[in-house]
């Protein structure tokens, strides 16, 4: 009996985007495919890239991460080195949380200095994330863009600040992560606005906002699928690589709470919570995944989808 395999062909192709590396490092290229993830069909020149987040500003670590980072210095520069050199992260996502007024309130110059040091310490591609506080980020992005010293991606540009982030990227040759709040039309709009500004398409990544497992993941899952289907159907503004930042997985009580014994070991559970979020995002179509747990980087880098 022969059953012809129902392979699906799409008219569109996702634009390849390269995250540049430092001297001696390996750049990361994602995108370039003309098919959905997972199904063995079409051309998929680049596997999803696996990165790790490094946060400034300290704060309590969930049990799973405390265990994984054990015996390591957790200052951003050392941690960045461990992520890139020991744990196999293909790129880093450096979140300047420490500059948030409620998160330590490091001066902007301090944030920019850390960026500079991290970039000197690792050779892999780096995405630099703001602290999330509008006014601070308005100062942070120009400072980071200037002090970076080599091309990075700035995260993120949204409807409000895209001119500033886009401008900072253009001034110093960086890329931009275009963020939108789980809304396909706003994702498209963010790309349109950045294009109008003159940011070249091969320097834009889509961040659709990633809800953590149990906390809105299903919205992200469907929006990533829809963005990808639209891109493959020929919508050029959405035919861009998608970045899923899994940080919200660690905000779930289920990922960090050690007091509920019926939920099992908090160390394994936390890791699995992030891992589950990651697999779902990969299934939906994510091209870049940002983890915090070293074990998950290993799991995803070894996966058969590469």
């Amino acid at each position: 009996m022969t059953v012809p395999l129902p392979k699906q062909a799409y008219p569109g192709r996702i634009l390849p985007v390269t995250l540049p590396a430092g001297p001696g490092g390996t750049p990361v290229t994602v995108g370039g495919q003309n098919a959905l993830s997972l199904a063995p069909e079409g051309e998929k020149p680049n596997a999803a890239a696996i990165g790790m987040e490094v946060r400034t500003g300290g704060g309590d670590l969930p049990p799973a991460l405390a265990k994984a980072f054990e015996c390591r210095a957790t200052d951003p520069v050392s941690l960045a080195g461990a992520c890139a050199n020991d744990w196999g992260a293909q790129f880093l996502f450096l979140s300047l949380d420490g500059c948030h007024p409620d998160g330590g309130g490091q001066p902007v110059e301090e944030g920019a200095r850390i960026v500079h040091e991290v970039l000197a310490a690792v050779s892999c591609p780096v995405i630099v994330g703001g602290c999330g506080e509008e006014e601070t980020d308005a100062k942070l992005f120009p400072a980071v863009a200037e002090s970076a010293g080599r091309p990075v991606f700035l995260s993120y540009a949204d409807e409000k600040n895209y001119r500033l982030v886009g401008g900072a990227a253009l001034a110093y040759g960086h890329g931009v992560v275009a963020w939108s709040p789980i809304d396909i039309n706003m994702a498209k709009q963010a790309n349109l606005l950045l294009s109008d500004l003159g940011v070249p398409p091969e320097r834009i990544l889509i961040d659709p906002l990633t809800g953590g497992l149990g906390y809105g993941l299903e919205y992200t899952y469907s929006i990533v699928e829809r963005i990808r289907l639209a891109g493959l159907s020929g919508d050029a503004m959405l035919a861009r690589p998608v970045l899923c930042h899994l940080g919200d997985a660690w905000k779930a009580r289920e990922a960090v709470d050690a007091s509920e014994t019926s939920w099992g070991d908090a160390v394994l559970r936390g890791r699995r919570w992030e891992e589950t979020t990651g697999w779902a995002c990969l299934a939906a179509g994510a091209d870049l995944l940002v983890f915090r747990h070293p074990g998950n980087v290993e799991a995803f880098r070894e996966a058969a989808w590469r």
Partner: protein
Amino acid sequence: MALTALDIYKLLPKTNCKDCGFPTCLAFAMQMAAGKAGIDKCPPASEEAKAALGAASAPPLPRIVVGTGDRAVTLGDEVVLFRHEKTFYHPTAIAISVSDALGDEALEERLRSISALSFERVGQILAVDMVAVRFDSGDPARFAKTASASLARCGKPLLLSGTCAALAAAIREVGASRPLLRPPPGETAAGAALAAAEKLPLAVSARGIEGLAAALAAARAAGATELVADPKPADAAVAVADSIFIRRLAIVHRAQEIAYPTAFDLGQGFPRPFEAACLLLSKYASLLVLDTADPAEIFPLLTLRQNLFTDPQRPIQVDPGIYPIGKISPSSPVLITTNFSLTYFTVRSDVEAAKTPAYLLIAECDGMSVLTAWAAGKFTSESIAALLAESGISGKVDHRTLILPGMVARLSGKIEELSQWRVLVGPQESSALPSYLRRLPPAAFVPVHG
């Protein structure tokens, strides 16, 4: 493709007899169009109508029921490839394995841990659905005994994996519970005959889609009708490919010879079972068998399933009422928002981040977000004033100050008029709550007397 309600209505008797349980033929037609009712519910329907509508309303992926009663598990019966197109109706069933080679004590312990795999999230109980009994002992009687103990201890439907001899033995003990039979690939025909004779669902195993199509044909030839397909993949990559192709063949190509719910056994040394489970939950599997019973692994899987099988148009709701956050006191601030689960979670986590104990009042808004609920007239000055009066919050705090979401600032004045509460307008975005709450002067929450 699908018939519209009007197409269906035209074929109905148009008598509004209400035998179907709906007030009019049109209302019934709407339900049929949505796939929520079948023509079998319409006794007076003509034979032509039954023929036309029976085929048209048959789901592209058949519906297989395992087990009985309110714990019965439905496999298949899906209509779309992507959840945003409509919804995924029947959550992937998760079966935890039990070996019949376990000693009595170990078996008891295993069944206890399976029963414990139950978690509550947003008002729903998340639990594993089935117990998969494996025939490892070589002794059909022991297999039957294990099946029987599993059913008795867990009360969940069973998946019976074993030779036909073992299956036959087990059916004598637990056949009435409608277990799913899973004979080895070499015994498909015999297993099918057994399933046909006992009117039980059958999982047909064969490697690859073509092999599976042949095995399914053999099973049908042997009289089995309620079938589940197991493509026996070697690893996660093959499993996901098989699952995607089978679903596409069913939904897009209507390839009836292969259009069956899928089952995957991720135990017994299957490589990287957790990864495979996550991806198969995302990509269409109807049933997964797992060897792990570790809650640290099962809880995230069940949560993923809960997420993906939520109807995109019917958001999860939390129960309306008073939610204390942190070490509350009578002078803790009171905030209000809607019962859309995502809104609730976001506000809750932002209040927790503020480390300011507070009461969160949740208003019944059909699971809509703040602005949507306001626009739909569900989150109004009247409904908020009524909640303030009726929820009992005034017995928990001795102040009368409410923090209102900034998005609906326009309601503030009328709430003050309708209730005895003063309204402070909070930030528009929940993310600004931590700094907002920290900066609130304690004087905002002084007690009122009289």
